[in-house]
Amino acid sequence: MLIEILIFSLLLGVFVGLSAGYVGSIMVLEKMALVGDALSHVALPGLALGLLFNFNPFLGAFAFLFGSAVVIWQLGRTTKLSFETIVGTIFTLALAIGILLVPEPDLLEALFGDITTISLVDTIIALIISIVVISLTRTIYKKTILSLISEELAISQGVKVGRINLLYLLLVSLVVAIGIKFTGTLLVGFLVVTPAAAAKTISSNMSRYFTLSAVFGAVSSFSGILLSSYLNTILYFGGWPPLPELDLVTSFLKVTALQSIPPGPLVVLIGVVIFLITIVIRRVTKFSAV
């Protein structure tokens, strides 16, 4: 049972990391990195309602993210304010409401994530959502990039910039909603920002950029979850136990269940290390976008 949880967690982490990195690469180009971060906090009231009324918190989080994305898109169209400005004005409100609503025992889990409750169903949902998000992002990323180069040029090519922005916000909402499961609402924004930032540091073309963003996202998630389990084992035993006395796998998982060190912060730390490595690579190789 426990080994299943670890496998489900790792798989879910890889799926979410791949899709968050992929979708986040557009966000970094749009200079909307803070939007991804802020948008994630909007999920908190939805999570709270799920916890309070005993329905799947993922659905509550997604409903709030989806609703917020539509409101942000509509406000952006009518007020001509930037997405960052609009998100900045509503995310603190959402955070405040969420903190008031979330039952205290669940607050830490909602903010920083928990992998002990991840099930086969969660993993399958994550797989489906990842496939949908990556496929749909593939259909819009060229159009989005063209609109970033010149909105006029994009519109003259028949690109519906408004609709694409709405679809994009919805894709981000989906990824953020499933990412919350293991990184929590405070840290999930990382997944759509830092892997893409690292990829952009060493990319001169789109295909490399999008691929590296997805790979860095997956590596960060996978390593963070694994490291969390490993460190919890050491904490539990007060050091690395002698191998013959330890049924390694079982112990790993028992202590993972204790959640001494949640995976979210470790995912972030590993992602930042990858980012720093790309900066060093760029400096050492005198990388230029040839």
Binding site: L29, K142, K143, I145, L146, L148, I149, S150, E152, L153, I155, S156, Q157, K200, S203, S204, N205, M206, S207, R208, Y209, S288, A289, V290
Partner: protein, 231 residues
């Protein structure tokens, strides 16, 4: 519709108002096939808005009739490529999956050496040529260029206009061109339309050297009362 008439485009009484301000006032003109028409006027005269209207990007009143099956190539004045990791090949392939090499070669770029370069490292002149390659990739009948040499040095500017002249002559492409440069208007366009919200002058481009015409362009605007016509 225009059918196979001499004219590729007929614009009749087009006006644009944005936020209660008149941007274009009752603009009418025609564009002959295979000719170059320069749109001239001071800043804020509505030149770029006129292009946006022709591309149906802004709401307007009046009538715009393109000839049947017209293909339009458009290059805007302002582009943001500095911060975007995209190669020349990837950029061009957004528009078309074929003719990439031939359109790069026809604007004087070596397709083999430039294809995998990032747009962000190109010089101003190279970038403009890539954009022209973008515009001609599906063999258009008309090109709309909003200051096609902004950000290019003087030598490069001349080379780009010569290349444009050759391309338009060889392929019988009509060219609508926004520019401020009197030399360019005289050397590289057949007709000019002076715009200051309304049309204040329309005629052959060699008229640009006439002091009376220059007064019309750079002095107080006096709107034409009749629709301008060729000769």
């Amino acid at each position: 519709m225009g059918g196979q008439s001499d004219y590729l485009l007929k614009v009749s009484n087009v006006s644009v108002e944005l936020a209660n301000q008149t941007i274009l006032d009752n603009v009418s003109f025609k564009l002959k096939r295979g000719t170059t028409l320069a749109i001239v006027g001071p800043n804020g005269a509505g030149k770029t808005t006129l292009f946006r209207v022709l591309l149906n990007l802004v709401p307007h009143t009046g009538k715009i009739v393109w000839s049947d099956h017209v293909k339009i190539g458009y290059v805007p004045q302002i582009l943001s490529v500095k911060d975007i990791p995209i190669s020349v090949k990837e950029f061009l392939s957004i528009r078309s999956s074929s003719n990439l090499e031939s359109s790069l070669n026809s604007v004087g770029l070596d397709s083999r050496s430039i294809m995998n370069k990032s747009l962000s490292v190109l010089s101003g002149g190279q970038l403009r040529r890539v954009l022209i390659a973008w515009a001609i990739i599906d063999k258009p009948n008309v090109l709309l260029f909003d200051e096609p040499t902004s950000g290019v040095d003087v030598g490069g500017e001349e080379a780009i206009y010569q290349m444009l002249k050759r391309l338009t002559r060889e392929n019988e492409i009509a060219l609508l061109l926004i520019t401020h440069d009197i030399h360019i208007i005289r050397e590289y366009s057949d007709y000019m339309l002076v715009l200051n919200k309304c049309v204040t002058f329309f005629g052959e481009s060699k008229e640009i050297t006439n002091p009376d015409t220059q007064k019309l362009i750079f002095g107080e605007p006096v709107c034409l009362e009749r629709e301008p016509d060729y000769g």
